[in-house]
Protein backbone atom coordinates (compact mmCIF):
# COMPACT_ATOMS: atom_id res chain seq x y z
CA UNK A 1 0.00 0.00 0.00
CA UNK A 2 1.27 3.50 -0.85
CA UNK A 3 2.03 5.77 2.05
CA UNK A 4 0.07 8.75 0.73
CA UNK A 5 0.15 11.94 2.77
CA UNK A 6 -2.81 14.24 2.28
CA UNK A 7 -1.99 17.81 1.31
CA UNK A 8 -2.42 20.49 3.94
CA UNK A 9 -2.81 24.24 3.85
CA UNK A 10 -1.59 26.71 6.48
CA UNK A 11 -3.38 29.97 7.15
CA UNK A 12 -2.30 33.13 8.94
CA UNK A 13 -5.34 34.57 10.66
CA UNK A 14 -5.44 38.07 12.13
CA UNK A 15 -7.82 38.81 14.99
CA UNK A 16 -8.78 41.95 16.87
CA UNK A 17 -5.91 42.98 19.10
CA UNK A 18 -7.99 44.91 21.63
CA UNK A 19 -9.92 41.80 22.63
CA UNK A 20 -7.58 39.61 24.62
CA UNK A 21 -7.71 35.97 23.66
CA UNK A 22 -5.03 33.36 24.07
CA UNK A 23 -4.26 31.62 20.74
CA UNK A 24 -5.65 28.34 22.06
CA UNK A 25 -8.90 30.07 23.11
CA UNK A 26 -9.25 31.46 19.58
CA UNK A 27 -8.50 28.04 18.16
CA UNK A 28 -11.24 26.53 20.32
CA UNK A 29 -13.69 29.14 19.06
CA UNK A 30 -12.76 28.39 15.45
CA UNK A 31 -13.07 24.63 15.91
CA UNK A 32 -16.42 24.93 17.69
CA UNK A 33 -17.78 27.20 14.90
CA UNK A 34 -16.51 24.73 12.31
CA UNK A 35 -18.29 21.90 14.15
CA UNK A 36 -21.48 23.97 14.36
CA UNK A 37 -21.50 24.66 10.62
CA UNK A 38 -20.03 21.50 9.12
CA UNK A 39 -20.42 18.87 11.81
CA UNK A 40 -18.19 16.92 14.16
CA UNK A 41 -17.16 14.45 11.49
CA UNK A 42 -15.81 17.10 9.09
CA UNK A 43 -14.08 18.87 11.97
CA UNK A 44 -12.21 15.68 12.84
CA UNK A 45 -11.38 14.89 9.23
CA UNK A 46 -10.19 18.45 8.54
CA UNK A 47 -7.55 17.95 11.25
CA UNK A 48 -7.52 21.60 12.31
CA UNK A 49 -4.31 22.31 14.10
CA UNK A 50 -2.91 25.40 15.79
CA UNK A 51 0.72 26.45 15.27
CA UNK A 52 2.80 29.03 17.07
CA UNK A 53 2.95 32.23 15.00
CA UNK A 54 5.30 34.05 17.42
CA UNK A 55 3.27 37.20 16.68
CA UNK A 56 0.59 39.03 18.66
CA UNK A 57 -2.97 38.68 17.36
CA UNK A 58 -1.91 36.31 14.59
CA UNK A 59 -2.80 32.64 14.53
CA UNK A 60 -1.39 29.96 12.30
CA UNK A 61 -3.91 27.24 11.56
CA UNK A 62 -3.40 24.16 9.44
CA UNK A 63 -6.08 22.01 7.82
CA UNK A 64 -6.39 19.39 5.12
CA UNK A 65 -6.63 20.93 1.66
CA UNK A 66 -9.95 19.15 1.07
CA UNK A 67 -11.54 21.15 3.91
CA UNK A 68 -9.92 24.51 3.19
CA UNK A 69 -13.10 26.07 1.77
CA UNK A 70 -15.09 24.92 4.81
CA UNK A 71 -12.51 26.44 7.14
CA UNK A 72 -12.52 29.77 5.27
CA UNK A 73 -16.33 29.88 5.43
CA UNK A 74 -16.36 29.21 9.16
CA UNK A 75 -13.60 31.78 9.79
CA UNK A 76 -15.63 34.46 8.01
CA UNK A 77 -18.64 33.62 10.20
CA UNK A 78 -16.86 33.54 13.56
CA UNK A 79 -17.11 36.10 16.33
CA UNK A 80 -14.70 37.90 17.10
CA UNK A 81 -13.81 38.86 13.54
CA UNK A 82 -10.99 36.99 11.89
CA UNK A 83 -9.17 37.93 8.70
CA UNK A 84 -7.10 35.50 6.67
CA UNK A 85 -3.99 37.46 5.71
CA UNK A 86 -1.95 34.69 4.14
CA UNK A 87 -2.27 31.13 2.94
CA UNK A 88 0.45 28.66 2.06
CA UNK A 89 1.28 25.02 1.49
CA UNK A 90 4.10 25.00 4.04
CA UNK A 91 4.54 26.58 7.45
CA UNK A 92 7.99 27.86 6.49
CA UNK A 93 6.64 29.76 3.49
CA UNK A 94 3.72 31.07 5.55
CA UNK A 95 6.13 32.54 8.11
CA UNK A 96 8.07 34.21 5.31
CA UNK A 97 4.89 35.64 3.76
CA UNK A 98 3.66 37.01 7.08
CA UNK A 99 7.04 38.57 7.87
CA UNK A 100 6.84 40.44 4.57
CA UNK A 101 3.33 41.75 5.31
CA UNK A 102 4.40 44.06 8.11
CA UNK A 103 1.33 43.30 10.21
CA UNK A 104 2.28 45.89 12.84
CA UNK A 105 1.79 48.70 10.33
CA UNK A 106 -1.60 47.39 9.27
CA UNK A 107 -2.77 47.34 12.87
CA UNK A 108 -1.52 50.84 13.57
CA UNK A 109 -3.35 52.11 10.50
CA UNK A 110 -6.48 50.28 11.56
CA UNK A 111 -6.41 51.96 14.94
Amino acid sequence: MLNHREKRRYLAVMYEGDIFFQPNQMHEKIVSRFKELFGFLHAELAFLKLYDSELDSILFIGCKLKYLDDLLVSLSMTQPSLTVVSLSGTLKKLRKNVARLNIGNIKNNAN
Binding site: M14, Y15, E16, G17, E36, L37, L68, D69, D70, L72, V73, L75, S76, M77, T78, Q79, P80, S81, T83, V84, V85, S86, L87, L101, I106, K107, N109, A110
Partner: protein, 169 residues
Protein backbone atom coordinates in the same frame (compact mmCIF):
# COMPACT_ATOMS: atom_id res chain seq x y z
CA UNK B 1 -4.54 45.93 3.12
CA UNK B 2 -6.40 45.46 -0.19
CA UNK B 3 -3.24 43.91 -1.67
CA UNK B 4 -2.89 41.50 1.25
CA UNK B 5 -6.50 40.41 0.87
CA UNK B 6 -6.16 40.22 -2.92
CA UNK B 7 -8.97 42.71 -3.47
CA UNK B 8 -8.84 44.98 -6.52
CA UNK B 9 -11.07 47.60 -4.98
CA UNK B 10 -13.01 48.30 -1.79
CA UNK B 11 -16.12 50.27 -0.94
CA UNK B 12 -15.76 52.83 1.85
CA UNK B 13 -18.51 54.78 3.55
CA UNK B 14 -18.32 58.44 2.45
CA UNK B 15 -18.30 59.59 6.08
CA UNK B 16 -14.89 57.89 6.50
CA UNK B 17 -13.35 59.43 3.39
CA UNK B 18 -11.79 62.53 5.02
CA UNK B 19 -8.29 61.01 5.30
CA UNK B 20 -8.33 59.11 2.06
CA UNK B 21 -6.77 60.16 -1.21
CA UNK B 22 -8.78 59.38 -4.35
CA UNK B 23 -7.33 56.24 -5.91
CA UNK B 24 -8.47 53.73 -8.47
CA UNK B 25 -9.15 51.02 -5.90
CA UNK B 26 -11.64 52.94 -3.74
CA UNK B 27 -15.36 53.34 -4.32
CA UNK B 28 -17.24 55.66 -1.99
CA UNK B 29 -20.63 54.57 -0.70
CA UNK B 30 -23.00 57.51 -0.24
CA UNK B 31 -26.65 57.91 0.70
CA UNK B 32 -26.84 60.95 -1.63
CA UNK B 33 -24.39 62.70 -3.92
CA UNK B 34 -21.83 64.69 -1.88
CA UNK B 35 -19.10 67.02 -3.26
CA UNK B 36 -16.47 64.28 -2.73
CA UNK B 37 -18.19 62.40 -5.55
CA UNK B 38 -16.30 64.64 -7.99
CA UNK B 39 -12.99 63.05 -6.98
CA UNK B 40 -13.93 59.43 -6.31
CA UNK B 41 -15.84 56.68 -7.99
CA UNK B 42 -19.05 56.41 -6.00
CA UNK B 43 -22.20 54.39 -5.55
CA UNK B 44 -25.48 55.62 -4.09
CA UNK B 45 -26.42 53.15 -1.39
CA UNK B 46 -29.70 52.66 0.45
CA UNK B 47 -30.89 50.22 3.09
CA UNK B 48 -34.46 51.50 3.18
CA UNK B 49 -36.97 50.51 0.50
CA UNK B 50 -38.89 53.77 1.01
CA UNK B 51 -35.86 55.97 0.33
CA UNK B 52 -34.92 54.05 -2.81
CA UNK B 53 -35.29 55.87 -6.12
CA UNK B 54 -34.10 55.62 -9.72
CA UNK B 55 -30.65 56.93 -8.78
CA UNK B 56 -29.98 54.25 -6.17
CA UNK B 57 -27.15 51.99 -7.31
CA UNK B 58 -27.02 49.61 -4.42
CA UNK B 59 -29.64 48.31 -2.04
CA UNK B 60 -28.57 46.58 1.18
CA UNK B 61 -30.78 43.63 1.99
CA UNK B 62 -31.22 41.69 5.19
CA UNK B 63 -31.84 38.14 3.92
CA UNK B 64 -34.42 37.54 6.67
CA UNK B 65 -36.58 40.53 5.81
CA UNK B 66 -39.67 40.22 3.62
CA UNK B 67 -38.81 40.19 -0.05
CA UNK B 68 -42.14 41.16 -1.59
CA UNK B 69 -41.38 44.92 -1.35
CA UNK B 70 -37.96 44.35 -2.87
CA UNK B 71 -39.58 42.43 -5.71
CA UNK B 72 -41.80 45.43 -6.45
CA UNK B 73 -39.03 48.04 -6.22
CA UNK B 74 -36.04 46.26 -7.80
CA UNK B 75 -35.23 47.56 -11.24
CA UNK B 76 -32.88 46.26 -13.90
CA UNK B 77 -29.25 47.05 -13.04
CA UNK B 78 -29.83 47.58 -9.32
CA UNK B 79 -27.12 46.10 -7.11
CA UNK B 80 -28.46 44.01 -4.24
CA UNK B 81 -25.95 43.71 -1.44
CA UNK B 82 -25.83 41.13 1.31
CA UNK B 83 -23.42 41.52 4.17
CA UNK B 84 -21.68 38.53 5.74
CA UNK B 85 -21.04 40.28 9.04
CA UNK B 86 -24.54 39.50 10.38
CA UNK B 87 -23.78 35.75 10.29
CA UNK B 88 -21.10 36.09 12.97
CA UNK B 89 -23.74 36.34 15.68
CA UNK B 90 -26.05 33.65 14.30
CA UNK B 91 -26.10 30.06 15.52
CA UNK B 92 -25.56 27.16 13.12
CA UNK B 93 -29.25 26.67 12.33
CA UNK B 94 -29.74 30.35 11.55
CA UNK B 95 -26.61 30.39 9.36
CA UNK B 96 -28.19 27.53 7.40
CA UNK B 97 -31.38 29.58 6.98
CA UNK B 98 -29.31 32.65 6.05
CA UNK B 99 -27.60 30.70 3.27
CA UNK B 100 -30.94 29.41 1.99
CA UNK B 101 -32.33 32.98 1.88
CA UNK B 102 -29.18 34.32 0.18
CA UNK B 103 -29.48 31.63 -2.49
CA UNK B 104 -33.07 32.68 -3.18
CA UNK B 105 -31.96 36.34 -3.43
CA UNK B 106 -29.26 35.27 -5.90
CA UNK B 107 -31.91 33.52 -8.02
CA UNK B 108 -34.10 36.63 -7.79
CA UNK B 109 -31.19 38.80 -9.00
CA UNK B 110 -30.54 36.46 -11.90
CA UNK B 111 -34.15 36.51 -13.08
CA UNK B 112 -34.55 40.29 -12.65
CA UNK B 113 -31.21 41.44 -14.11
CA UNK B 114 -30.06 42.80 -10.77
CA UNK B 115 -26.46 42.50 -9.59
CA UNK B 116 -25.97 40.19 -6.63
CA UNK B 117 -23.23 41.54 -4.35
CA UNK B 118 -21.75 39.77 -1.37
CA UNK B 119 -19.97 42.13 0.99
CA UNK B 120 -18.00 41.74 4.20
CA UNK B 121 -19.94 44.59 5.84
CA UNK B 122 -16.68 45.46 7.56
CA UNK B 123 -16.45 48.48 9.83
CA UNK B 124 -12.73 48.01 10.46
CA UNK B 125 -9.67 46.36 8.93
CA UNK B 126 -10.09 43.41 11.28
CA UNK B 127 -13.50 42.63 9.82
CA UNK B 128 -12.39 42.60 6.20
CA UNK B 129 -12.59 39.39 4.20
CA UNK B 130 -10.05 38.16 1.65
CA UNK B 131 -10.94 37.47 -1.97
CA UNK B 132 -10.13 33.78 -1.41
CA UNK B 133 -12.62 33.64 1.48
CA UNK B 134 -15.29 35.31 -0.65
CA UNK B 135 -14.73 32.61 -3.25
CA UNK B 136 -15.14 29.85 -0.68
CA UNK B 137 -18.43 31.36 0.50
CA UNK B 138 -19.66 31.70 -3.07
CA UNK B 139 -18.71 28.10 -3.87
CA UNK B 140 -20.47 26.98 -0.69
CA UNK B 141 -23.63 28.70 -1.93
CA UNK B 142 -23.32 27.11 -5.37
CA UNK B 143 -22.28 30.31 -7.15
CA UNK B 144 -19.35 30.23 -9.57
CA UNK B 145 -16.71 32.70 -8.30
CA UNK B 146 -15.44 33.37 -11.83
CA UNK B 147 -18.90 34.33 -13.08
CA UNK B 148 -19.51 36.39 -9.96
CA UNK B 149 -16.34 38.51 -10.31
CA UNK B 150 -16.89 38.91 -14.05
CA UNK B 151 -20.50 40.07 -13.68
CA UNK B 152 -19.59 42.31 -10.76
CA UNK B 153 -16.80 44.04 -12.77
CA UNK B 154 -19.12 44.53 -15.74
CA UNK B 155 -21.77 46.01 -13.47
CA UNK B 156 -19.29 48.42 -11.85
CA UNK B 157 -17.94 49.44 -15.28
CA UNK B 158 -21.47 50.15 -16.45
CA UNK B 159 -22.06 52.39 -13.41
CA UNK B 160 -18.84 54.36 -13.99
CA UNK B 161 -19.48 54.60 -17.74
CA UNK B 162 -22.98 55.99 -17.26
CA UNK B 163 -21.57 58.71 -15.03
CA UNK B 164 -18.60 59.71 -17.14
CA UNK B 165 -20.41 59.52 -20.49
CA UNK B 166 -23.23 61.83 -19.49
CA UNK B 167 -21.28 64.21 -17.28
CA UNK B 168 -21.49 67.83 -18.43
CA UNK B 169 -18.24 69.31 -19.86
Amino acid sequence: MTKILDLDLIGIDSTNSANIKPTENIVLRMDKKYPTADYFHYLLVSDNVNSMDGKTDLFIVDPFQRKDILKRKAKRGLGIEISITSTKKLDGTMVGRWIKEVKSIYQFCKSNNCQFILSSGANSVNEMISARTFESILKFMGISPNNYWEEFSEWLDSKYKARWTYVKP
